[in-house]
Amino acid sequence: MPMEAPQFHRIAERDRALVRFVIDRRSCEALAGDTLLTALLTNGRQVRSSEFGDGPRAGLCLMGACQDCWVDLEDGSRLRACTTFVAEGMRIVTRSGADDGR
């Protein structure tokens, strides 16, 4: 799959161990100490889709207050992306089937 344009851009603290994880079946790389939100947004621009059909969402407050960045994992569990560190082998789903025609 092609690289997606990232929303977040690294400007410091680049010297950390690589973490490999998966977004929508695409292999991606992050750095140890990245939150899951950082890991997702340095690899793309979407964290989830609004349940109300108003488009993609990508978090808001980054401090665990707004609850906008809860993401789905392939195993059906859910995590709040801004307060969870990315871990090797995580498999995240940001797009539901309905978004595929986007």
């Binding site: 400007i11 990245d34 950082t38 808001l60 207050a65 609850q67």
Partner: protein, 454 residues
């Protein structure tokens, strides 16, 4: 029961100082904090493996951040510290704490609430697009993750954080399209005598603005009618009206916005502390005296969770609340020191009044929000739908309007939309803000797994 350790909720400036004060008196408080490390939002510590020094992370406040971290680290071994733990309910002398997917009941006799604050926001058309973050969020990306939220950013809103975050991004070499302040220049000029009482805090603020201007970044005052447009489902343009009423457009791939801070009050509500309307902060706040005592025996309140006063006041307030708790338990306290703490709190609150006057919450922007704006992003409720709850359905206060519209009923419990929703409702009903009431806190105060409660 007599020996039950006091509980401190939150490990930011207020909670850290409260805990250190209790530990110094020989008590071993339980300190519950949602974050993995102490420091709160303002002095949030970088994750393990990050190497930027204090000076880079905290700027002017580096020494304060270090002192607070060291004070907490010094007592860590002698207290019962529970990081990564969410207090999701509090009633009848027990906290309900979620840690690692499991909930535990923690009985308490005395508790100091130090829950802090969050960005106060006003929704605008396009604010749910990827690329739009709160000012606090933009700062966390930079300080805690070493990331910029975009490559060409507009910072918009009002308050000291607007200029501080913009300055931090500029210093990190990120392109800033503009800094747009909703506060008119005249408001700042009028507030000047009061601001001058802020001494070095005010000087740092002025320095921030001057540094932005000297790097050629446009700063506009008194802006209105903000809306973001998207390209490929990401923010691409910010539109606004300048102080002269002319529509302007700025190309950008990210927006950081916020309008001051809002106190985190859910736990105070569950603890049954009475609330009253604070005309300065334009928010209902739990009642406390200067010592941090609330009308509920055994429940104390410190820091921004009881009213926005900033990190310095939070440290002083945390210490003062802990001393109040100790006094109430029959400990001897140093009376002249207590008096000095209270004088410091009074001084800071005078400066805060001037700050609110210089950077007023633009309730008119919220009230005039276009009908199609998503007001509640959790439940996808538009401002028009919310106004209909007030108009056609006859909701006369905010909890009724919430029941009719679902605005404020979602996963954030109204933390995000609450202040703006109150302003929309007040305008729709033609009532002053304090007459539409406040969203009641409900457990769980944040989402928890269903398996925990059944």
């Amino acid at each position: 029961m007599e020996d039950r350790p006091p509980v401190v909720i939150g490990a930011g400036p207020a909670g850290s100082r409260a805990a250190a004060t209790l530990a110094a008196a020989g008590l071993a408080p339980i300190v519950v904090d949602e974050a993995p490390a102490s420091g709160g939002q303002i002095y949030r510590r970088a994750p393990a493996g990050f190497t930027r020094p204090y000076r880079t992370l905290y700027g002017f406040e580096a020494a304060k951040a270090r002192r607070l971290h060291e004070a907490f680290d010094g007592i860590k071994g002698s207290i019962d510290y529970r990081p990564e733990t969410l207090v999701w309910d509090l009633k009848h002398g027990a906290l309900h704490c979620l840690f690692d997917g499991r909930s535990r009941e923690v009985p308490y006799r005395d508790v100091i609430l130090a829950p802090g604050a969050r960005d106060r926001i006003i929704p605008f058309p396009g604010w749910t697009l990827p690329g739009v973050y709160t000012l606090g969020g933009a700062q966390i990306a930079l300080k805690y993750q070493g990331c910029a939220i975009g490559t060409r950013i507009v910072f918009m809103g009002t308050g000291p954080l607007l200029y501080l975050v913009a300055r931090q991004y500029a210093q990190a070499g990120v392109e800033i399209a503009a800094v747009l302040d909703t506060a008119p220049f005249a408001a700042k000029r009028r507030a000047l005598p009061g601001l001058l009482r802020g001494g070095s805090t005010f000087a740092k603020g002025l320095w921030c603005v001057a540094a932005l201007r000297s790097s050629g970044i446009m700063i506009a005052n008194g802006i209105r009618s903000v809306a973001a447009d998207a390209k490929d489902a990401t923010v691409s343009t910010l539109r606004y009206r300048d102080a002269a009423g002319t529509e302007q457009r700025l190309a950008c791939d990210a927006i950081g916005f916020g309008f001051g801070l809002s106190s985190e009050t859910q736990l105070a509500d569950l603890a049954e502390i009475p609330f009253s309307f604070d005309p300065i902060q334009q928010q209902f706040l739990p009642e406390r005296d200067i010592a941090g005592r609330t009308p509920v025996p055994g429940v104390y309140l410190a820091g921004d969770g009881g009213g926005i006063a900033g990190a310095d006041a939070a440290e002083v307030g945390g210490e003062r609340a802990a001393l109040a708790l100790l006094e109430d338990r029959g400990h001897e306290v140093d009376k002249p020191h207590v008096a000095a703490l209270e004088r410091a709190l009074c001084r800071i609150s005078g400066f805060r009044v001037a700050l609110e006057a210089a950077f007023p919450f633009p309730a008119d922007i919220a009230a005039g929000m276009p009908d199609e704006t998503i007001l509640c992003r959790c439940e996808g409720v538009t401002a028009g739908e919310f106004r209909r709850a007030a108009g056609a359905l006859g909701a006369g206060e905010i909890n009724r309007a919430k029941a009719f519209s679902r605005c404020g009923m979602g996963r954030c419990q109204g933390r995000v939309c609450g202040p703006a929703a109150a302003a929309v409702l007040a305008a729709a009903l033609d009532l002053p803000l304090e007459r539409v009431g406040r969203l009641r806190g409900q457990p769980p105060v944040k989402p928890i797994p269903m398996a925990v409660v059944i």
